[in-house]
C-alpha cells in the first residue's frame, strides 16, 4: 500500500540524524554529480556511496529493492543519450538512418546514466529514512519555515493512506456500476479521469473539515506557536554535513580538476 516503506530500523544512525542535515548532504552530492558529465565522477561517487551504505544502518536488500525504478530510469537515460546523441566522434559502431552510435556516444550515455544514479541515490536514501513529522519539526525549528504551512502539509500527509484506500474503493465502485474500459485507451483515460474526480471531491471535503477542526483547536489563533518537542542540529549532524562537504571537495579536486 501507499505508505513510506522503512528501509532502516528506527534506531539506525541515519534515521536519528536531523532530516535537514541529511537533505543538505544529499543536495551537496547531487550538485557535485551534476557539475560534470564525465563518467569517472559518476562512477567514483557511486562507489563511495555503495561503500558507505552499510555504515548508515540501512538494510541493504530493502534499499536495493527501493531503487529498482531508479536503476531502470538511469538505464533509459543512458540508452537515450547513446542512441539519439548527435555529432559524437570516435569509432562508428552502428549506423542506420537517424540511429547513429559511436564509441564516444556510448561513453556519453554511460556517463549520464552513472550521473543520474550518483545524483539520486543520496536523496532517495535521505528521504527513505526520514519521518515526515521529524522533517516538519526541523523545517519549523531550524529553517524557520512558517508553521502554518509545515503543519498544514504534515496534517495533509496523514491523509495519504486514507486517500490511497479511497482510490481503490472508487475504482471498484465504478466496476460495480457497470463501467469498465477493457483495453480501449480512450475509455481508460475517461475512467481514470472520473475516478480522479471522485477522489478530488472527497479530498477537498475532508480538507475543509480538517481545516475547521484545526481552527477549532486554535490553529489560526494568531498566538505565537510553542513547540512540544525541541529539535536541534546536534554535533553528529554538523559532522555529517562537514564530512560530506570535505568529501565532495576532495572528489571534485581528484576527479574533475585533475583531468
Amino acid at each position: 500500500m501507499l505508505t513510506p516503506a522503512a528501509v532502516a530500523a528506527p534506531s539506525a544512525i541515519i534515521v536519528r540524524a536531523n532530516p535537514l542535515a541529511k537533505l543538505a548532504a544529499a543536495s551537496l552530492i547531487a550538485g557535485l554529480a551534476l557539475s560534470s558529465t564525465d563518467w569517472a565522477l559518476g562512477l567514483t561517487l557511486l562507489v563511495i556511496e555503495a561503500a558507505l551504505l552499510p555504515l548508515t544502518g540501512v538494510r541493504v536488500g530493502r534499499f536495493l529493492w527501493r531503487i529498482r525504478y531508479l536503476a531502470f530510469a538511469a538505464f533509459t537515460v543512458g540508452v537515450v543519450n547513446t542512441v539519439f546523441a548527435t555529432g559524437g566522434g570516435g569509432t562508428v559502431w552502428f549506423d542506420a538512418g537517424p540511429l547513429h552510435v559511436t564509441s564516444s556516444d556510448v561513453d556519453n550515455g554511460l556517463a549520464l546514466a552513472l550521473r543520474v544514479g550518483a545524483m539520486a541515490i543520496p536523496g532517495v536514501l535521505a528521504l527513505a529514512t526520514t519521518d515526515p513529522t521529524d522533517l516538519a519539526d526541523a523545517l519549523i525549528q531550524q529553517l524557520r519555515v512558517s508553521p502554518r504551512f509545515a503543519i498544514g502539509a504534515l496534517a495533509a500527509f496523514r491523509m495519504l493512506p486514507l486517500l490511497a484506500g479511497e482510490w481503490r474503493l472508487i475504482a471498484m465502485a465504478r466496476r460495480a456500476r457497470g463501467v469498465d474500459a477493457g483495453w480501449n485507451p480512450v475509455r481508460r483515460l475517461r475512467l481514470f479521469a472520473s475516478t480522479m474526480f471522485a477522489l478530488l471531491v472527497g479530498a477537498i471535503r475532508r480538507a475543509t473539515r480538517l481545516a475547521t477542526a484545526m481552527d477549532a483547536r486554535g490553529f489560526d489563533s494568531g498566538v505565537p506557536r510553542t513547540h512540544a518537542r525541541i529539535r536541534r542540529m546536534r554535533g553528529g549532524d554538523w559532522v555529517l554535513l562537514a564530512a560530506t562537504a570535505v568529501a565532495c571537495l576532495a572528489v571534485y579536486v581528484a576527479v574533475v580538476v585533475s583531468r
Binding site: L34, V80, V83, R148, G152, L160, L163, I204, A207, A211
Partner: protein, 194 residues
C-alpha cells in the same frame, strides 16, 4: 479584506491535501500506464505528449485557492509526497516540483493574482511545461541534438501542458464547483444558488 498574501487555514490545508491527492493520482497513473511510460522513455519527444498530466496541480491549485504561491506550494508538495513515497529521483523530484510550480506560478503572478480566466491558465500550463522540460533536458538529456531532440521535446511538453493542464484544470474547477465542495472559495461562488 481577502489579501492574496493572507492564507486562511482552509487555503493551506486544501492546497496540501490536493497535493497529497495528486500524489495518489500519479501513483495510480503509474500502475495503469507504467508499461507505456517506460517504453516512451526511450524516445523523449513522444513521452512529452502526456507531459501535461503531471502539471495539473500547478494550474489547478492557484485556480481554486487564488493566493500567492499556491501553485508553487502545491506542486512542490506533490513532488515531496512522491519523493517520500519512493520516487526514483529522490531529492531531485523536489527540485523538479519547485521548477514546475515556479513556471505555473509566474502566469498568475503576472496577472497580480487577479486574473484567473482561461488565457491565464493556458499560459500557466505552458510555462510550467516549458520550465519543467527545460530542467529535464539539462539534467537527463544534455548531449542530445539541440534542434533534432531538445527543441521538439521542450516544444511538445509545453504544448501538452498548455492543453492538458491549461485547459484541463479550469474544466476540473468548473466540475468541482458544481458539487459544492468549493463553496468556501471564490472559485465556487460562481454557481447558481441551490
Amino acid at each position: 479584506m481577502n489579501s492574496v498574501y493572507k492564507w486562511r487555514t482552509i487555503d493551506v490545508v486544501v492546497a496540501a491535501v490536493l497535493a497529497v491527492a495528486f500524489g495518489v493520482v500519479f501513483w495510480a497513473w503509474n500502475l495503469v500506464w507504467n508499461a507505456a511510460d517506460a517504453s516512451l522513455g526511450f524516445f523523449p519527444p513522444l513521452k512529452a505528449i502526456i507531459y501535461g498530466v503531471w502539471l495539473i496541480p500547478a494550474v489547478l491549485a492557484p485556480l481554486i485557492i487564488r493566493k500567492a504561491g499556491a501553485g508553487l506550494l502545491t506542486e512542490a508538495l506533490a513532488a515531496t509526497v512522491s519523493a517520500l513515497l519512493g520516487s526514483q529521483w529522490g531529492v531531485v523530484t523536489i527540485w523538479s516540483g519547485l521548477t514546475e510550480g515556479l513556471g505555473g506560478e509566474l502566469a498568475f503572478a503576472a496577472g497580480r493574482y487577479r486574473r484567473f480566466g482561461l488565457p491565464t491558465s493556458v499560459v500557466s500550463g505552458a510555462l510550467a511545461g516549458l520550465f519543467a522540460s527545460t530542467f529535464d533536458t539539462v539534467l537527463y538529456y544534455p548531449t542530445l541534438g539541440f534542434l533534432s531532440y531538445q527543441v521538439p521535446y521542450v516544444a511538445f511538453a509545453t504544448l501538452s501542458s498548455a492543453v492538458i493542464a491549461g485547459l484541463g484544470a479550469p474544466a476540473l474547477v468548473k466540475a468541482l464547483a458544481a458539487t459544492g465542495v468549493l463553496d468556501r472559495f471564490p472559485a465556487g461562488r460562481g454557481r447558481a444558488l441551490v
